[in-house]
């Protein structure tokens, strides 16, 4: 009987760990790009990304969904 309890406890711990891991990894990040600015260096791609954010593409559209 003790063995049964131990194995059930083990299973419980396993399930709690799986749940905790799932919740941790399914949490969305803020979507904000992180930069390492400790030495005041910025790479070219980061500059290009920020510049892109300032403009609108000429074919930009507002989406309300397809009617059919």
């Amino acid at each position: 009987m003790n063995k049964k309890i131990i194995s059930l406890l083990f299973l419980l711990i396993l399930m709690v760990s799986i749940t905790a891991t799932y919740v941790y990894f399914s949490q969305k990040d803020s979507g904000e790009t992180q930069y390492d600015n400790s030495d005041k260096t910025v790479n070219d791609a980061d500059v290009a990304n920020e510049i892109d954010d300032m403009f609108l593409e000429e074919d930009d559209e507002v989406e309300i969904g397809d009617i059919v």
Binding site: T19, V42, V47, I51, E61, V62, I64
Partner: protein, 264 residues
């Protein structure tokens, strides 16, 4: 001993159910969240009347496109025999009438009003709601094969009115980007602004213009480059925070995340 086992089994079941609930909630929220993110991105440029004008014109175009497609779908349905007392297109036509009224409302919205963001979000939600209503109604009337056929028939729809909207929107976006380029040149401190005029005249594409700007910035000293980057970044963040705050504020009032006409 049996009681302990039963308790443990119950605990395990509870853990499993809670993890399932978490997963389900995530799925449900995903779609709403995506829509909110898009709207948030859209209102970022609405801190001036030009940005508001662009978004409201884009909404008009999206609504008009759906109205025209909806009308074509109704014609196809009538051709298929949906003109009897039992089977008819009355409900679809009444949704289209509501959409037309809404389009008129969007056309008369004041772009320079302080409430333009709120008006845009509310009108966009109503447009999405009516579009969904039409889609769900037609789905109940036809099978998948017929729906696919209708989609194919209205896919290649051509309209001068839509084309005019596209041109007007493109011109306004070009004006918006022109203003942004000027601001950017102000931050960079570069006197030569021929790229800006070339872009505005249509002789230099936007991507090329951005590339030229990046080149100028990347050739600067490390400190100057960092300074410019920080300034651009802070401006972008300020705009994002402003849009996020606005949506949150509207959400508190009960308008931001609503989808219905009744909430208006």
């Amino acid at each position: 001993m049996k009681k302990i086992s039963a308790l443990l089994i119950m605990l395990m079941m509870l853990v499993s159910i809670s993890s399932l609930a978490v997963a389900d909630e995530d799925g449900e929220n995903q779609e709403n969240n995506d829509m909110d993110v898009k709207t948030e991105k859209e209102i970022e440029i609405m801190n001036n009347s030009l940005g508001a004008e662009i978004r409201l014109l884009q909404l008009q175009k999206a609504l008009l496109k759906n109205i025209l497609k909806g009308e074509m779908a109704v014609q196809v349905l009538i051709g298929l025999g949906f003109n009897t007392t039992e089977n008819n297109t009355t409900e679809l036509e009444s949704i289209l009438t509501e959409m037309k009224e809404l389009l008129e409302e969007v056309k008369t919205a004041n772009t320079s009003s302080n409430e333009s963001v709120q008006i845009f979000v509310s009108l966009k939600n109503q447009s999405k709601n009516l579009t969904t209503q039409f889609r769900e109604t037609i789905k109940e009337m036809l099978d998948d094969v017929s729906l696919q056929e209708i989609r194919q028939r209205i896919k290649e729809m051509l309209s001068n009115e839509l084309e005019n909207y596209s041109k007007r929107i493109r011109n306004l976006i070009r004006q918006f980007n022109y203003n942004q380029l000027y601001r950017l040149y102000g931050i960079v401190g570069e006197a030569n602004s021929s790229f800006v005029n070339d872009y505005f005249n249509g002789t230099l594409p936007l991507n090329e213009t951005k590339l030229q700007l990046c080149k100028i910035i990347n050739q600067m000293t490390k400190d100057k480059k960092y300074e410019i980057f920080s300034e651009i970044k802070s401006e972008n963040i300020r705009r994002q925070i402003h849009a996020y705050d606005y949506l949150e504020h509207m959400g508190d009032k009960g308008n931001g995340k609503g989808n219905g006409r009744g909430e208006h």
